[in-house]
Amino acid sequence: MIELDQKIAEQLSEVGLNSSIQVRCGTSNSFTVTASVIHPLINVFDMGGVYISASRGANEIIEGLESVGIATGNIQFLDMVSSGILGGTNTEHTNISYIDSPIMLESALLRTMYQMRRSVNERNFVILDSVNALAIYNEERMLAEYLHTFVNTFRQREVLSVIINVPDQTPPGVLANLDLYCTELIDRGQIVIN
């Protein structure tokens, strides 16, 4: 079983709901970092929210999170990956909805707002996993524009936004904009080898 990063929980305890957090991770620690972010949000701060999965199918993410003791019943998943895979949308999970393609950025935004309008949670988060996965399909200027809209939309609505990113796989222009828009940074982009 993986060991969660407790320092992330400490850092999250100091941010407000209208914060936008850029979470930088590496290619090998992305799941550990993501789980370390979600664990306190669900288990400590009693939040619910939306998880936009563009890096992997939502089924796989749900199984991963539950294996480390994170209940996913209070998270709605927007899966941007599985519709592109034949049979990818066959699932028993009722908290997954599918978006046809990672290029349908506006759909992801509207579906998130739809889930927020239906949400009964007092405090909500939205996790975008990940900018580098979206960068595979979307042109740099459009992705930068989207992130600008994304951050401002949820800050205005007092929804905590968490943007996961592998910096060395993200276009420099997008990365620079993320630094500008986000209010907080959790940097686990470099793995320290003791």
Binding site: S101, M104, L105, L109, M113, M142, E145
Partner: protein, 253 residues
């Protein structure tokens, strides 16, 4: 002389998520608005939600359906959480089959002449007046206009209908079917005359992005209000139509 700079026309607040912001408060009361679009882009849903939001405020609403039987229309709309069948039972939403209306008026011919058109206008306005309808949808005006042979008669029909409905204080959405080709060349109606007669034009269509179709909505014209003319991405959800500005770098396909 009194300044009219601050005058604002009363609005019919559509209640559709984002649309009233685009229209800076709603559709000016009594307007006849063309809602044009290619197939599958959400025209019927937009029209139905417009009526439902009115019914929620206790307004009497009417829907004239020419493209599908009312039973089928109501069956399809039940999937939406925003629709409540009680609104029909209580008489807040009144659905009429155009075919039934034609046969009631004895309009059995394949095409309509001037007399037929006036009989139809009178029937519609009588219904609006009797029930006290403040929101009306005709879906679609294109299907109806196919029965009218000349552009001049179509113009007369829409102009007279719009004028009478406006006098009755009824805000009307005329659903218009256009092909996706027309939607790309600034043509907002099938016959070309509907757009000139209408007070407003709301266009619904698709933008193709890397092989995927994204629905959009754009208010091209709306008399009596300033409004955004940008493209908005549309999502048809169980709680209604949702809109967000379309990404500028991705709005031209």
């Amino acid at each position: 002389m009194e300044s009219t700079a601050g005058y604002v026309r009363d609005r019919c607040v559509t209640g559709i998520h984002g649309l009233d912001e685009i229209l800076r408060g709603g559709i000016p009361y009594g307007s006849t608005v063309l809602a044009s679009g290619s197939c599958g882009c959400g025209k019927t849903t937009l029209g139905l939600e417009f009526l439902v939001r009115g019914a929620e405020n206790g307004e009497a609403c009417a829907h004239f359906t020419a493209t599908e039987p009312s039973v089928k229309l109501l069956d399809n709309v039940r999937q939406y959480d925003f629709f409540d069948m009680n609104m029909v039972d209580k008489g807040l939403i009144n659905v009429f089959d155009m075919d039934v209306l034609y046969s009631w008026l004895g309009l059995t011919k394949a095409t309509f002449d001037l007399g037929d058109i006036h009989a139809l206008i009178n029937a519609i306005t009588d219904i609006v007046n009797t029930i006290g309808v403040t929101r009306l949808v005709i879906d679609s005006v294109t299907t109806l206009c196919y029965k009218i042979q000349s552009e001049q008669l179509i113009r007369d029909f829409l102009f007279t209908l719009g004028k009478k409905l406006s006098t009755l204080g009824c805000t009307t959405l005329l659903i218009s079917e256009i092909t996706s080709e027309k939607a790309g060349v600034n043509m907002w109606s099938s016959f070309g005359v509907e757009e000139a007669i209408s007070d407003g034009i709301i266009v619904l269509g698709d933008v193709e992005r890397m092989g995927h179709l994204l629905r959009f909505l754009q208010v091209v014209k709306m008399r009596g209000t300033s409004h955004s003319r940008a493209k908005y991405a549309v999502e048809l959800t169980s709680i209604g139509v949702m809109l967000t500005p379309m990404l500028k770098w991705g709005s031209s396909g």
